[in-house]
């Protein structure tokens, strides 16, 4: 074996490193090294931003995240009141919880040092136990990086200027692919269920849609809502306001998904087949219901399922109440209402049409004939403006206008219509007028963003070429020679902040009078109740405050066997609240009659 001189000496070149500055970080561990700018260290949670949706807890494959109550944080609508607590004996610092956090409140910090001899101290709540973490956030999600799907699947609609040509339904509805995709965006937190007056099982039916099981979705929906197609089309959807995804993106289209599901069942027979309700044997109790609006129908449906004998008295020729006569057909076609009413009738509910209580039948008779009575008569009477010229020809109440149109009649409104008000009725009236060929202007006394109408409706109106004049207070209607309305004078208003902290008030500006021409004026500033059917002996006993029945949490009025719901009892003035009232009244009536309390 020969001696390898080069190979023996070469390693000695390591000596040339002698005297060079070492790589060693001599300060560690007494001064820990600062982690890099994107380091995934311990969690930090912004407690105010966090809504406790629990998505972090769901994504955590290590089950390291628990949702726990935290001192000083109260739950409210859109906030569960719980905050994530992280078990650092489970955490793997993958940061998926950060990527799926819908609000972006959860983040990771640069801190990574924690050493202890007690293994139980590794369980702590980010944000509560490390408030200093706020300054050290290094790994966070933005709208761009977040794994939540923030973009809503656009709803197919008729084009703005096409749709004013007819009363065809504007919204075309999702097809199956679109519905599955939209349902897949949902993170199933369930925050929405609390905001819904009826507490519908939203995450469950959306999950059923996402998994491709529409029949189950329908069944879940019918569990506490007998008029889902109505809700699917015209609901005020408070659920979407609190949607977790809405914090950084478009809320899940809960309403459209419900609409999609209900459209998969084509007729009343199919509904019955799919829902397959468990109808109980008749129990002998009889319940009378006044008004076939949403609340009345709900009461009738669920009581009928429980074996009660239900009879509805309806003044008009068709059921549905305001949803039938107040909502234009391009939003809510008659067929879809008919389908649902037919289904409810199939369950065994009797409806007497064209029977106005107080005229065709007395309230007293109903009250004595039935074991319990539910009043869901709604607000049929419009408020008036109380200004000069309001009773001129051509000045029409918007509700009446919509009633006539929905009844298939014609109303002469000319070609220049002014609508007064900013609620859904105002927008509906405006859009109907546009469909009748008129040039429409809406006068509203507050700003556009203050309008109580749905933003989708407002946008829809704008798309259809309807002008909105905000901060305009009408003061006078001018007649032409024939006594027909000719023009409207209004004052511009300034928005003045309310001292008590309420919403800003419009204050008219003197001398800002403007006059615009009109061939018709539609007033839509609200409706009120009409309880003239109550005989004196009842109206004395039943307490009515500010135009509404005073009811307890079971919708029971001051008379034991009299229940009330819908607009006649609550202030929400929407379909879903009416249904919720009906659902509660069912419990109340059942408790009263069957359980006896």
């Amino acid at each position: 074996m020969s001696f390898d001189l080069k190979g023996t000496l070469k390693p000695l070149t390591a000596l040339k490193q002698f005297g060079k500055k070492p790589h060693t970080l001599v300060d560690v561990p007494s001064i820990p090294l600062e982690a890099s700018d994107h380091y995934r260290g311990f969690h930090y949670n912004d407690l105010d931003e966090c809504i406790g949706c629990g998505n972090c807890s769901t994504i955590c494959q290590n089950q390291a995240i628990d949702m726990v109550p935290v001192d000083g944080i109260e739950g409210k609508k859109g906030d569960s009141g719980l905050r994530p607590r992280v078990d650092h004996g489970r955490c793997c610092w993958c940061g998926l919880c950060v990527e799926v956090c819908p609000t972006g409140s959860l983040s990771l910090t640069k801190d990574y040092l924690y050493v202890s001899d007690d293994p139980d101290t590794f369980l702590w709540t980010p944000g509560v136990d490390n408030p200093e973490g706020k300054e050290r956030i290094s790994f966070f999600s933005t709208e761009e990086t977040s794994l939540n799907d923030f973009g809503r699947i656009p709803m197919p609609e008729l084009e703005g200027m096409d749709r004013v040509k007819s009363f065809a339904e504007v919204v075309l509805g999702y097809n199956e692919v679109q519905a599955r995709a939209e349902a897949s965006r949902c993170i199933s937190c369930g925050l929405c269920t609390e905001a819904c007056p009826e507490h519908m099982h939203i995450p469950e039916y959306i999950n059923a849609i996402a998994r491709g099981n529409d029949a189950d979705a329908v069944r879940i929906i019918y569990d506490n809502n007998p008029l889902p197609e109505m809700c699917g089309k015209v609901c005020t959807r408070r659920c979407e306001d609190v949607c977790a995804i809405a914090h950084r993106g478009d809320p899940i289209a809960i309403r459209w998904l419900k609409r999609y599901t209900t459209e998969t069942v084509k007729n009343a027979d199919m509904i019955k087949e799919v829902v397959n309700p468990d109808i109980q044997e008749p129990n002998g109790y009889k319940v009378g219901i006044i008004g076939a609006g949403p609340s009345g129908l709900t009461v009738a449906y669920y009581l009928a399922l429980k074996g009660f004998d239900c009879t509805i008295y309806e003044a008009h020729a068709k059921a549905g109440g305001m949803t039938m006569y107040g909502i234009p057909k391009y939003r809510f076609p008659e067929e879809s209402l008919d389908k649902q009413i037919e289904y409810i009738q199939k369950i065994g509910v009797k409806i007497h049409f064209n029977t106005k209580v107080g005229k065709d039948i007395s309230f007293k008779e109903i009250y004595s004939k039935y074991d319990a009575v539910f009043i869901g008569v709604g607000f049929p009477k419009p408020w008036t403006l109380g200004i000069e010229g309001e009773d001129l020809k051509g000045s029409i109440q918007a509700v009446n206008f919509l009633y006539e149109i929905n009844n298939g009649k014609t109303v002469d409104i000319g070609d220049k219509v002014i609508v007064i008000g900013g609620g859904n009725v105002a927008i509906d009236a405006a859009r109907v007028s546009a469909r009748l060929g008129a040039d429409v202007t809406i006068l509203y006394r507050r700003r556009v963003q203050d309008m109580p109408a749905d933003w989708e409706e407002i946008e829809g109106a704008e798309d259809e070429g309807i002008h909105i004049i905000p901060q305009a207070i009408p003061v006078k209607f001018y007649p032409d020679k024939k006594g027909h309305v000719k023009a409207v004078e209004y004052l511009k208003a300034d928005m003045v902040a309310d001292e008590k902290g309420g919403r800003p008030k419009p204050v008219p500006v003197e001398g800002s009078n403007t006059i615009i021409e009109a061939t018709a004026v539609l007033g839509a500033i609200g409706q009120q109740g009409d309880y003239s059917f109550l005989e004196e002996e009842f109206s004395e006993k039943v307490k009515i405050e500010r135009g509404r029945f005073v009811v307890n949490e079971k919708q029971q009025s001051t008379l034991d066997k009299l229940f009330a719901g819908g607009d006649a009892a609550n202030r929400s003035a929407d379909v879903i609240s009416a249904i919720a009232d009906g659902y509660m009244a069912v419990k109340g009536i059942e408790d009263l009659l069957v359980k006896g309390n």
Partner: protein, 367 residues
């Protein structure tokens, strides 16, 4: 005179810097006559656990298959999922992935420098190379947020874009490393101890190599030019200019030489990537992970890691959870059947060196 055979247990505490496994060797004198491996010290049952993990959650788990070099596993999984779903990956993401993979390759080779030389009693190189490896890990930390487990390559692209000024930092580190590699050479490849202990030791038969399932540097050390980056190209490797080094001999020395050249090729690839990386999106967003279902089917993707072919066989039953994500590690073949074969006739003092040169990685065997 025939000596009596004795049985020795090498392990389970790290026979080389390799991970926990045991080799039971029967020796006559100090020559091995029979070797049996025993594994299972690191079996965490990943493939069982993913039954309860969805497609996204699985990704954080699967990268832990191989600790020294997790990125090829992430890459394989991400690509398998993309293949199943038909998801496109932006061009920029592909370049970033190559950058990450090559950085991981370098980091892993630096660890190998330490392990291979330490297994032969040369400790200085390890002090240097493992220390220098920290500079690569610093880059990873800045890019991905983690030193060891990056969880960076995921289905659809990569998790975050390159931070500002990152390219320059990479180039600086590469310049530094290139100089250091020459220092390592002085101590390792020019060292007579290293030569004498590696040349002619642990020879793999070239004729049988492919059949035996040899892949990666050991196969190239047998004189067979085989590299998945070229044979079955993925990401943007077919757009990059690099050489797959080949050495004849099939012994530890040849394998070491292959690795020595490969680390330089990786630096070359990284420079090209940084020159050519396009602007644009780095990620095609996946849907809501809770409800992300993949179409029914299966996919097998292969990636060239430092140990050779690593692959991921992913099966979907159409649901939100993987039906199966079966990992194929190079060590699965190298460290069991091949090692048992190779050790026969060798000296016991070479066991650690042979294991290191094969890229033994028990966590990827046992999963």
């Amino acid at each position: 005179m025939r000596e009596k055979a004795t049985t020795l247990y090498i392990g389970p505490q790290h026979p080389g810097i390799t991970g926990n496994m045991m080799v039971r060797v029967k020796v006559e004198g100090d020559t091995i006559v029979k070797a049996t491996t025993e594994v299972g010290y690191l079996h965490r049952s990943f493939e069982k656990l993913i039954e309860k993990r969805n497609w996204l959650q699985s990704f954080t788990l699967l990268c832990r298959f191989c600790v020294p070099e997790p990125d090829p596993v992430e890459e394989s999984y991400a690509r398998a999922v993309e293949l199943l779903e038909g998801r496109e990956v932006p061009e920029r993401a592909k370049y970033i992935r190559v950058l990450v993979l090559e950085l991981a390759r370098i980091a892993s080779y630096l660890l190998w420098y330490g392990g291979q030389s330490a297994s032969l009693g040369l400790y200085t190189i390890g002090q240097w190379s493992v220390g220098d490896r920290n500079y690569i890990l610093d880059l990873f930390e800045e890019l991905t947020g983690g030193r060891v487990y990056h969880m960076y390559i995921w289905p659809g692209g990569v998790r975050r874009d390159l931070p500002k000024g990152f390219e320059n930092k990479v180039l600086k580190t590469m310049d530094y490393l290139e100089k250091r590699l020459d220092d390592y050479d002085d101590l390792m490849f020019d060292n007579t101890i290293f030569r004498k202990r590696t040349q002619g030791v642990g020879i793999i038969d070239k004729e049988k190599a492919v059949e035996w399932g040899v892949v990666g540097p050991p196969l190239r050390g047998c004189g067979i030019r085989s590299d998945i980056r070229i044979d079955d190209p993925y990401e943007v490797y077919n757009k990059l200019d690099f050489v797959v080094p080949v050495e004849e001999g099939g012994d530890i020395w040849a394998r070491a030489l292959v690795r020595r050249q490969e680390i330089r090729q990786s630096i070359r690839i990284i420079r090209q990537v940084l020159d050519n990386i396009p602007a644009g999106k780095y990620y095609n967003k996946i849907p809501n992970p809770q409800k992300w279902a993949l179409p029914k089917g299966d996919a097998y993707t292969r990636t060239e890691a430092v140990r050779g072919e690593v692959g991921m066989y992913v099966v979907s039953d159409g649901g939100t959870h993987p039906r199966r994500a079966h990992f194929r590690g190079a060590a699965y073949v190298h460290a069991i059947t091949l090692l048992e074969n190779l050790l026969v006739g060798e000296n016991i003092s070479d066991i650690a060196a042979i294991m290191n040169s094969l890229g033994t990685c028990p966590p990827e065997i046992e999963r």
